[in-house]
């Protein structure tokens, strides 16, 4: 079948994944969400598992993830995505299940569900977008906001004495025996996107082995919430987020 928009005599070397819908994304320019959505769906495409995949969307900027991902999806209440994913995976044990959550969702209101889902070793993939801010509600302080970080609810900067410390929940989760693969990635450069996609691929493969929870933190930007241009946001990410949230595998299965 001839692809639409393909120029006669030209070869297609790259295209939007088939499991990504044609709906224009509502994300701000430069936002990490769109990139993570795309590589998630690329993996679903490449593995040919659209008919065996169920996703769970969170509350937050990616609340409309199901508008873009052409797989069966459920919208969870704030913080409860991993509990919903547990319910799905338990009754559909041969399905690939992923939950997609932001930092407020996963590491504040949903901490209990997060810890216990991983501790049970639910055979799901948890994707954790950490941009240190509540994006959708207008840039409030998140559990992962850095010390000194100015947000709409920490206008003078986050203070440890008042707000506690930025929560490295991924390191915490890696301690749990139920965690099978725990990694921290980013998508701010082409190389980083490739690595992050590899982590997603591995996580989907591990699901079939039923060895435990796969958890991918994506240290992400929020140009609008951080009040920066996309390039400034990516620079700020490297300079400020990476030292506190270092990139790399935290717990990887022995190969």
């Amino acid at each position: 079948m001839k692809e639409p928009d393909v120029i006669e005599g030209m070869e297609v070397v790259y295209r939007k994944p088939q499991t990504l819908t044609a709906t224009p994304m509502h994300y701000c320019p430069g936002c990490s969400h769109g990139v993570v959505h795309k590589i998630l769906m690329e993996v679903v495409d490449e593995m040919g598992i659209q008919d065996k995949t169920v996703g769970v969307a969170p509350v937050g900027c990616s609340v409309f993830a199901y508008d873009y991902m052409n797989v069966d999806m459920q919208e969870a209440a704030h913080g409860r995505a991993s509990a919903v994913a547990t319910g799905i995976r338990r009754v559909l044990p041969d399905t690939y299940v992923f939950a997609y959550q932001g930092d407020g969702d996963l590491a504040a209101i949903g901490t209990g569900e997060t810890v216990h889902t991983v501790n049970r070793g639910e055979n799901i993939l948890m994707v954790f977008i950490n941009n240190g801010i509540y994006g959708m509600t207008g840039g409030q302080m998140a559990p992962t906001s850095l010390l000194g970080m100015k947000t709409s609810t920490s206008p003078y900067g986050r203070e440890a004495a008042v707000n506690g410390y930025p929560l490295r929940i991924t390191e915490l989760l890696a301690q749990l025996p139920g965690a099978y693969y725990v990694t921290r990635q980013s998508v701010h450069t082409t190389a980083a996107v490739r690595k992050c996609k590899k982590a997603i691929e591995a996580s989907f493969r591990y699901q079939t082995e039923k060895r435990g929870t796969c958890f991918i933190e994506v240290v992400a930007n929020c140009p609008s919430g951080w009040k920066m241009t996309p390039n400034e946001a990516n620079d700020w990410l490297e300079k400020n987020m990476f030292p506190y949230y270092p990139i790399g595998d935290i717990k990887a299965p022995k190969q």
């Binding site: 999806m73 459920q74 209440a77 338990r90």
Partner: protein, 364 residues
């Protein structure tokens, strides 16, 4: 255990009978969190699940997580049950609001205990408002069935699964600590006697042949959200027309009507007997579905009786619905106990006698 005519007759505790009924009704998944006085439900299920291969029984880390696991499993098309007692049910209200909006079927069992707060572990009917008026945020209802015997703890599991799946709205069995703990003879229906209709809306993985399925309660455009609300309200009007259930005892010649649900209706039967021995012609109206409420039956009875006496194990909650149905045409009195106390037949009789002496006097 006795087998007669293929029916399995046993002496069982209410909580255990309900759990056994759920397994026989083809429940595919149960999520829960321990709380007195209903912990036997999950204990029984975990003990007997191996007899039903493939059934998922999972103890969650909280009622909050449990109800959201129910959301996920129901959205994936499974026949799901959850049970708890009053404080735990309060924690589930967010999930129930989401499930009604997402139009997910599930059976929720509330074995009520006395409140408010941590309260007591003794039986109560204090969650009537929460159960029948919505409970969580937004305009919605649960389908609410109120059993009055261990047999109905069994039968209503089947009825509630049928209703929740037919209407794609969560259904609740509103029991109490006494019904959960007491033992009675029960006849158990055979395994697999409740067929499951297809759930083409469920998220099970999208084949190439259909659009993706989305289970959500988010409809950000107000025009769309209003449409969803109108759909829900149409569903509730159908329920009110088609699914009302009510039992009437000795109403044929009654001059006074007792109105009571669940355990209290059993006590009212004794009070009715005592009143009739004294020559007072008392009947009993027992709402079986608390939502939809049998307003028409009560309205009709208002044309016959001199006054109503509503009896509840709370401060007077269903009495408001009785008064709405009667609409001022007859006095509606109330008597009840709270905080885990159970009214005695003699207390109810004393109230009946006071009302007979002055039927129009609205007691505080």
């Amino acid at each position: 255990m006795a087998q007669s005519n293929g029916t399995d007759v046993r002496l069982m505790k209410g909580n255990e009978a309900l759990a056994e009924a759920a397994l026989r009704a083809g429940m595919q998944a149960y999520f829960g969190y321990p709380i007195t006085p209903q912990s036997e439900v999950m204990e029984y299920l975990t003990m007997h699940a191996p007899e039903h291969p493939g059934v998922v029984i999972l103890q969650a880390e909280s009622e909050l997580a449990a109800i959201n696991m129910v959301y996920g499993a129901a959205g994936a098309g499974a026949r799901v049950m959850i049970s708890s007692s009053s404080p735990g049910i309060s924690l589930m209200q967010e999930g129930l609001s989401y499930m009604t909006s997402a139009q997910l079927p599930a059976l929720v069992v509330n074995v009520q205990r006395g409140g408010p707060g941590l309260g007591t572990i003794q039986p109560s009917q204090g969650d009537y408002f929460q159960a029948v008026k919505g409970g969580g945020h937004g305009d919605y209802r649960l389908i609410v069935l109120a059993p009055a015997s261990v047999q109905e703890m069994v039968d209503f599991v089947f009825d509630a699964f049928r209703l929740t799946e037919k209407y794609r709205n969560p259904a609740m069995i509103l029991a109490d600590g006494a019904l959960g703990q007491m033992m009675e003879k029960v006849a158990l229906p055979p395994v697999g006697s409740l067929p499951r209709s297809a759930a083409p809306w469920a998220t099970v993985g999208k084949p190439a042949t259909r659009e993706r399925n989305i289970v959500t309660s988010l409809f950000i455009q107000p025009e769309r959200m209003e449409q969803i609300n109108l759909q829900l309200q149409a569903k509730y009007r159908t329920l009110e027309k088609e699914e009302v259930r009510c039992e009437q005892l000795q109403m044929e010649d009654a001059d006074f009507a007792l109105v009571a649900f669940g355990l209290t209706s059993r006590i009212c039967q004794k009070a009715m007997e005592l009143a009739r021995q004294k020559g007072i012609r008392v009947g009993l109206i027992r709402p079986i579905t608390l939502y939809p409420f049998p307003s028409a039956v009560i309205r009709k009875a208002a044309g016959q009786v001199e006054a109503f006496v509503t009896v509840e194990m709370n401060a007077g909650q269903m009495v408001e619905d009785v008064r709405l149905a009667v609409d001022g045409t007859r006095p509606v009195h109330f008597t009840g106990r709270m905080g885990g106390m159970i009214p005695t037949p003699e207390e109810i009789l004393a109230k009946i006698e006071a009302v007979v002496a002055e039927p129009s006097l609205q007691h505080a």
